[in-house]
Symmetry: C2
């Protein structure tokens, strides 16, 4: 299956098993708006961990009658993160969302070796983009967490990304390892790395998927451009996921697509046992909502 | 002044002094098409260095009556590049264009310490983008030559870019040093470098211009987004030039804007005494033509 846009993703979430999101430090109006909208629509169930009184006050202001049973009191941020993570570990919730809490404080509990829900690999960010000029939703990783990933980290990032996409029902995710050129160049280590990643994909290391590289952005986006350069790959014009060579490339690409190509995005943190909704403070309600839907759909 | 699109750039070239382009190894149909179109329109004069017979044959096939006096015979590629560069050095031409010759062979003559036209600094590529969603032509550098520029190379790249833009009539070019974040981060050397480049710009090292950074792509493209993040700069929403931290970032950005945002581009090589037209073999006639116009307009 594939998703042409976020609307289809949302429909798919609503058609599936209802998942429970556990929100750490839920006392934040935009986070609550997104969660409660999804809940009202029957798309997710929620557990709100955090400052109970504040949560009650905000939900009241939003004219939403919240049941006290879905609120778990946690006065301090670390406590909220700890408790939220614990509930995931205990199977009381399906996935995690960051509320009004520092990212570092939150993630520290997520990856805690004894009480956390780390999966042993690299934590990374995957953006999912809806781009008007592209026929389907397109993943972009890692544009927000690992600044200069090593080859092994890139392998982890691909693995996490294709696992997520397969969970979403995309059976054979197509991954483009973006570079500036199509030939290996010793001065561009990402070119050689992409060859190695492709080999590891063929050897089965990442499960069912198709990894291509080195490949530049024009060939990735257009089968026609690829044909003109005599570059033949299943990925051209049909990629599900872009692996960028470093974080700044992904960051610039994602933001430029939003500003200049009318794209919308959802985001999630991968690499823990469950997907994590972690949007920035400035994210719109729509982005938070779509991110919630992405994670709900990406549960194993 | 500013250019809203390539059409305005072309008009500006036609309104100014007619410049002479010297083409090295001109025996290439797409190169000749672009040059002869510009010549027919009265936008440029040309000198065609290369294999005379082949040049005559191709121009004949294009139904163009070329005068023999504008052709300079050069049987070998190195000879063609040498002669073309020599004509620039002697003031017989205003700027240079690469024809059917390997880029390395061509540039070797350009930067030759004794017979070349290098200017002592770093050679770099500047793309000029026409993006439908952006109000004016936008430069992007270096997305094609220096893979991982050092701080000094970045200073050279900014200097070359703003010199070019000022030559084009943009009196106070606004430069955004793109990064993933707005704060200095020791793990992202480009953030600190952008602060240093901004300081050097303020100290006058690059002539009249406004350099900003660290700044992310969203704030660069939108004054509104910048205001929402309490980031105040003349550059937000109004940049003339983007400096990317490394080549792959610029390459991916430029190609994505073309594929997904309907952008068109022109390109030039900067850092020699004159701008150099150097488009790739796969470039469209339109790109070659616009690149020619860009360089014609960028003569000091």
């Amino acid at each position: 299956m594939e998703y042409h846009n976020f609307k289809e993703l949302v429909s798919s979430v609503k058609a599936g098993n209802r998942r429970t999101v556990v929100v750490a430090a839920a006392q934040e109006v935009h986070t609550l708006k997104a969660v409660l909208k999804a809940r009202q629509e029957g798309a997710v169930e929620c557990i709100l961990v955090g400052k109970k009184q504040e949560i009650m006050r905000i939900t009241g202001e939003l004219d939403y009658q919240i049941e006290e049973r879905v609120i778990v009191e946690a006065k301090e941020d670390t406590e909220a993160a700890y408790k939220a993570v614990e509930m995931i570990r205990n199977g009381q919730g399906d996935f995690l969302m960051k509320g009004r809490i520092e990212t570092g404080t939150f993630l520290k509990q997520v990856v805690n070796k004894e009480t956390g829900i780390g999966a042993g690999g690299t934590m990374c960010h995957m953006a999912l983009m809806e781009i008007p000029a592209y026929p389907k939703l397109l993943g972009l990783t890692d544009s927000g967490m690992v600044i200069s990933p090593t080859l092994e980290q890139k392998a982890d990032i691909i693995k996490a990304g294709v696992d997520m996409l397969r969970n979403m029902g995309i059976e054979n995710p197509k991954v483009a390892c973006l570079t500036a050129v199509e030939k290996c160049n010793p001065n561009m280590p990402e070119t050689k790395e992409s060859v190695l990643l492709k080999e590891r994909a063929i050897a089965g290391e990442f499960g069912r998927c198709c990894v291509e590289g080195p490949i530049s952005c024009d060939l990735t986006f257009s089968e026609e451009a690829a044909r003109a350069k005599n570059y033949h790959s299943a990925v051209t014009g049909d990629a599900d996921l872009l692996l960028v060579p470093n974080m700044v490339t992904g960051n610039v690409l994602g933001k430029a697509l939003i500003a200049m190509a009318g794209a919308k995005m959802a985001g999630c943190i991968l690499g823990a046992k469950v997907p994590v909704v972690l949007t920035s403070r400035g994210s719109s309600l729509e982005e938070k909502y779509n991110s919630l839907m992405l994670c709900a759909r990406g549960i194993a």
